[in-house]
């Protein structure tokens, strides 16, 4: 199968040095778990917007924890306080830890000052998922949007984060764009900081 997990040799947990957290998990195991998460939430809701919100909530909890962990592990207990700093922290550090690679692109919205976009050609959570036609623009990337929102909110950058499919010319599959719209107070603070 596509995902290959590593098998760790057993050692006493106390003998082991503090882990760097670089171990990979099996992609298949993750895909089945995520699939079950979506299926479970589908039984609990009666419309698609509600399903999207529930996936986002599930991701939010991950984001909050990941921020805490990575600030400790990678940043020496410091966290980013500037807008561009936190965005590139998500784009590179968070993405690398969660998905094993940096995100394909990080762009500033052209129409609005407060919008930023993180784009992925093929989001890991969407690798095996085909959205049925009757579900319209629903994107399981809502889970990842939730992670991003969790990181931003807990770092003091409240924002509305959504996941969208964007068709790409000459490609059969659309890419996924995570759209981040910051709250007004964040931009005001940025302006004050100069």
């Amino acid at each position: 199968m596509i995902g290959v997990g590593k098998i760790k040799p057993y050692t006493n947990v106390l003998d082991r040095p503090l882990s760097k957290g670089k171990q990979e998990v099996s992609l298949s195991a993750f895909a089945f778990l995520f699939s079950e998460l979506v299926q479970y939430n589908q039984t609990q809701v009666d419309n698609i917007a509600e399903l999207e919100r529930r996936l986002e909530d599930a991701g939010y909890a991950v984001g909050a924890r990941v921020l805490e962990l990575l600030c400790h592990r990678e940043k020496g207990n410091r966290r980013e306080t500037r807008l561009l700093g936190i965005l590139s922290f998500i784009h590179s550090t968070v993405w690398k830890v969660l998905f094993g690679k940096v995100a394909d692109s990080l762009e500033k919205g052209t129409e609005h000052e407060d919008e930023y976009m993180i784009s992925e050609k093929e989001l890991l959570v969407n690798r095996f998922i085909s959205i049925p036609k009757d579900m319209g623009a629903f994107n399981c990337g809502a889970f990842v949007a939730g992670i991003v929102k969790g990181v931003l909110d807990n770092a003091g950058f409240p924002a509305v984060v959504t996941a969208h499919f964007v068709p790409v010319d000459g490609q059969q599959r659309p890419r996924t764009t995570i759209l981040i719209k910051f709250a007004e107070e964040v931009l005001q603070r940025e302006a004050r900081l100069g």
Binding site: M1, I2, S28, A31, F32, F34, S35, E36, L37, V38, Q39, Q42, F128, I129, S130, I131, P132, M135, C140, Q172, R173
Partner: protein, 141 residues
């Protein structure tokens, strides 16, 4: 000339959950394909009972004058079979590869209901690629 005529996937109770034909030869309408699928399911089961070999897992290859039928049964009872030109090689590998695609793009898709017809865009895309690759390999031989 198309080497593969058609591909079928049937669930463990004999219902057709996926059918695709390639090229003009051996094309069937929906009713015929459903009938063939359930017929094959029963024949496969009977062959297991009738076989003189103990622990037989059913027909793997049916050779006829005008076509070959290669069948692969997964451990869970889902059957994959292709109808192809007589003497086409490497169909076992193709079927295993299709099984792999099925486990990846169908079973890991949260919107797929078990034992129901397969309607997954990613499965279709990857299947088309696999069959295409197989065709290119055949032309090369």
């Amino acid at each position: 000339m198309a080497a593969i005529y058609s591909l079928y996937i049937i669930n463990k109770s004999g219902g057709l959950i996926f059918y695709k034909d390639y090229g003009s030869a051996g094309r069937m309408d929906t009713n015929d394909s459903l009938r063939l699928a359930s017929l094959w399911h029963s024949m496969h089961a009977i062959s297991q009972q009738l076989s003189p070999v103990s622990g037989c897992s059913g027909i793997e290859l049916l050779q006829a004058d005008t076509f070959d039928l290669h069948c692969f049964q997964s451990l869970t009872g889902t059957k994959f079979f292709v109808v192809c030109e007589p003497g086409t090689l490497h169909m076992e590998n193709l079927l295993k590869h299709i099984y792999e695609l099925y486990t990846d793009y169908v079973l890991k898709n949260p919107f797929y209901e078990m034992e129901m017809p397969i309607r997954c865009e990613l499965f279709d895309i990857n299947l088309a690629q696999a069959v295409q690759k197989d065709r290119v390999a055949l032309l090369g031989r």
